[in-house]
């Protein structure tokens, strides 16, 4: 198995940490993993993305240009990465921010109303966890509980009190896509 995923959005939307949880969860599951960020010039408000590869053999190139899954958090990222989904792959996007939805027909496309869920949770910061939940419900690359375990490793102690909220968000994400089949 090798799963090549890219997660893209604005800086500050948590795309890098969503990727990190996916990767770290892979470590917990004894997979081979790599996480590769790409930054724009802005400190805040720019675009950001990361490529995550989970596999059972050493990762050859940590940078690839075609992906099994693309998860996007804004319109420019959708436009940039829709063509990069491998035929038969998955394109998942946050519903609210996308004005012009994707048009490809050879891939699975799932819109996730994650922002709305985050509003319900009264915390925009957990948007990425909602998306992660939704993503892991569709692509069983790692077990969702390992994403939460990963949180314990990634977050500094003093933030551990926030983990339950994150877990909730993750589960909401899973819930949001329950009508879709895992691929």
């Amino acid at each position: 198995m090798t799963e090549e995923t890219i997660i893209a959005g604005f800086g500050g939307q948590g795309v890098l940490s969503m990727g990190m949880l996916l990767a770290y969860g892979g470590v917990i599951e004894e997979q081979e993993v790599s996480w590769m960020p790409s930054y724009g010039p802005e400190m805040r408000g720019g675009t950001a993305n990361c490529i995550v590869i989970n596999g059972d053999e050493p990762i050859s190139s940590p940078i690839v240009s075609k992906f099994d899954s693309v998860v996007v958090f804004n319109q420019p990222s959708l436009e940039k990465f829709e063509p990069a989904v491998k035929p038969g792959g998955l394109l998942m996007y946050e519903e609210e921010v996308i004005n012009t939805p994707p048009t490809r027909t050879d891939i699975t496309i799932i819109a996730v109303p994650a922002a709305q869920a985050a509003v319900e949770l009264k915390n925009q910061k957990v948007l990425n966890l909602v998306m992660l939940g939704a993503f892991l419900a569709i692509k069983t690359i790692i077990k969702p509980e390992n994403a939460i375990k990963a949180l314990y490793s990634v977050l500094p102690e003093r933030h551990h009190k926030l983990i339950p909220l994150n877990e909730k968000a993750l589960n909401m994400g899973i819930e949001l896509v329950k009508d879709h089949q895992p691929v």
Partner: protein, 263 residues
Amino acid sequence: MTDECTITEGMSAMDLVYDRPESLLDVRMHYCPGCGHSTVHKLLMEVVDEMEINSEIIGVAPVGCSVLAYEYMNIDMHQAAHGRATALATGIKRVLPDKYVFTYQGDGDLAAIGTAETIHSANRGENFLIIFINNGIYGMTGGQMAPTTPEGGKTATSPYGRDIGDMGAPIDIAAMIAPLPGTFYITRQTVHNAKGVRKTKKALTNALKYQQLNKGLCFVEIVTNCPSNWKLTPYEANQWMVDNMFDNYPLGDIKVPAKEDLS
């Protein structure tokens, strides 16, 4: 501007009393919300417009958050290597003595890696303007300690707070170059409130006018903020600045030309 932007209704018999300066290009600046860099860019372009010198001025952009200053200012600009803006400006001004020349530099750029160039430009009395944006941190690279970081300041490279004994005290470059005969006008301002903005604009205007006199270096330091790396909202950041920066960098004129020097 192409944005839809009218919030209140239009009224008749109204004077336009403030508008974005023309020389500030109509593009979105990459600076973080509330960052003083943007304010100073705007001010500088106001001065350039008012003095009608946008065809006679050459700016030198540094390496630092303002590295892209040339994307916003509708004047000829030259992007420098980190710390070397005043060396570039020396080169430019020496071959174009009749043009206005300024550098725009951060504290890492001017007070760390560029120290030798700063001091020797000042000592040679180069006839250009240094605009020194002192935000007490390396903004662009993500919040490392600058030579001007206040005592105790926690940054990415002083995670336990700046320890004066180990890392040195915040350095006051303006004070250091003031005694040099090569410097003509040195002032320290801020742009965190409207009053400060007005005074800074005046300082920039002074400095550029003085440049015509060919009497040496003008140096306008602007103590400002870095909300992103200070990890504060812009408003909080400005408060923090008032509380922590102004003691180290007292505002006001440091060296002003005597009347008889103004001719």
